[in-house]
Amino acid sequence: MSLAGAGPATGEKISEPWVQLLTPAGVRVPEPHYDSWLEDIDGGRLQGLYRDMVVVRRIDVEATALQRQGELALWPPLLGQEAAQIGSGRALAPDDFVFPSYRETGVAYCRGVEYADLVKVWRGNAPSSWDPYRLNMAPMQIIIGAQALHATGYAMATKFDGAETATMTYFGDGATSQGDLNEAMVFAASFQAPVLFFCQNNQWAISEPVRVQAQRAIADRPPGFGIPSVRVDGNDVLACLAVTREALDRVRTGAGPYFIEAVTYRMGPHTTADDPTRYRDPNELEDWRTRDPIDRLAAYLKSEGLFDDGFQAQVRTAADDAAAGLRAACTGLSDPSDLELFDNVYSTPHAVLERQKQHYARYLAGFEAAEGGQR
């Protein structure tokens, strides 16, 4: 029960209009405008999108298992959000820059992340993992909404430089309440920054349904800031791909900022530390299961004769390999060295911290001298 809001309860029919190219049953709905953004998506590419989603779900399930087995301290599952992340992630060009939240495993996968870099942070080995300049993707962000401002600033800088790239930021429905997110929209509009806001409205911010954050569709808010927006079926990978491709093209070619609300569902817990049965009606989950992003593409592939045993076996192998790769990378990570916590606080020498580090090294050495071993 929440004080806020007379808005539509989650689980009710999603208000239209929105872009949907594939119904939950896997029927292709023609939509001339957005279809033009999918002309290159032939059978092989369709199968590729399916493989991506299955592999990413498998990575996610494996990471959840690794957490249950004590190999990771925590994991934020993306279960149910595969289409939103693969559809949008596959629309990005290598030069585009991404500012994610913490749940964008699928986007990181599209950017070519290494397995170890997916789990290093959650294992407690490092405060961030991948090289932002190799993936063109900033470290994941836990402070809700902060990354939207960073993306806007990055986009402003690309504009100063005259570069033709887009900057994209991912955030959740909950994040739309933060000042940072709203300030980002003001800056983006004022400076006509080439930034794409991508909101995965997965209906929940931990235990709070989206109606605590917004009384109307989230996509209705950006126009008030002067930012055009579109609402898309976030469980439809084709719609997400088409809508994001178009949006990135607009952004790259000087049309200013743009906002996508992908309507999806967090099928798992908020993180492995969360217990959604405390606040969520199980029927709601069952309802969303009928709109599963992977099942619906499978149904479409089947209807197109693109889903034979050979293909399915191939996808299974890819998923198994990914799971095994992730597990090996995770358990193979070596613990940080004793003094690593002092590294990179500053980029130039800092006398006070140096002294603390030396004192601590001496302290540790004393243990080893006394006990001939580890602390």
Partner: protein, 336 residues
Amino acid sequence: MTTMTFGQAINAGLRKALDRDPKVLLIGEDIGTLGGVFRITDGLQKDFGAHRVVDSPLAESGILGTAVGMCFRGYRPVCEIQFDGFVYPAFDQIVSQVAKLHYRSRGRVKMPITVRVPFGGGFGGAEHHSESPEAYFLHTAGLRAVTPSNPQDAFLMVQQAIACDDPVMFFEPKRRYHLKGEVDLEADLSAAAPLDQARIERPGSDATLVAYGPLVPTALAAADAAADEGISLEVIDLRSLSPLDFGTVADSVRRTGRLVITHEASQTGGLGAELAAGITERCFYYLEHAPVRVTGFDIPYPSARMEQHHVPDLDRILDGVDRVLDRPNSLSGLED
């Protein structure tokens, strides 16, 4: 007496406060249906209604800023910040508004806000989930700050904080939420130790060891270990961080002549610095050794697999005790 956990004791204290005063209201992220990510507000929305236990939109500045407005109407908001590292979006409202409105309005507007902040590390948390931001708030005039270290204090102090007409930063040592203790649920609030008073947790004669919040149990364990070596430590639980109870600590230091201060927060500009300076001013001629600080390092809170180096533990506290007692220690022979 009832045996309960630290977390349950805060819950019981909040319940009493809600019962006692219809103007008390709880607001924060996920505190209603879920009962908070730590279940500290478990069951309260069910019993007191969604108008008194409010799930707020995800915006800390919004939580504190609207609480200020409620204070203008005579409410006593209890704001929950989900984790220490998420208090900063509310920093502006706390520092520029909550702390100053009583002063600015020449006492006409009261800000009886309690800001509950689970703080501290040592539990393998993710980034931004293990911080000790108390010093930022101690430096802000107009705010009080307290931290209980055991269930009985938690139960009473949260009620005292809510009843206090000043804004109180209420730091909860989250890794002690499961610590069990005896709580007198019928304890009379007016008979409780004042909110701004420290407490001698264990008397001793060789040195004074000052701790607060999560490190009080660690300090007590260190005192046990020191006793095995024939060293008698007096352990003080500060309880109040602003104001600091210099009287209690100075009394102790005048008897022991030696002071060790420990906290998880970084050292520079921290509470240990303030305490060391204040005690040196008051007890200069009684001190046998400079006050010693055993603290977290001047680094961002490190990842889980490095935090054991950062958070002071029994051994590091004892090393500090050796230093203050001029016994062989890790810095022996070092001249800087």
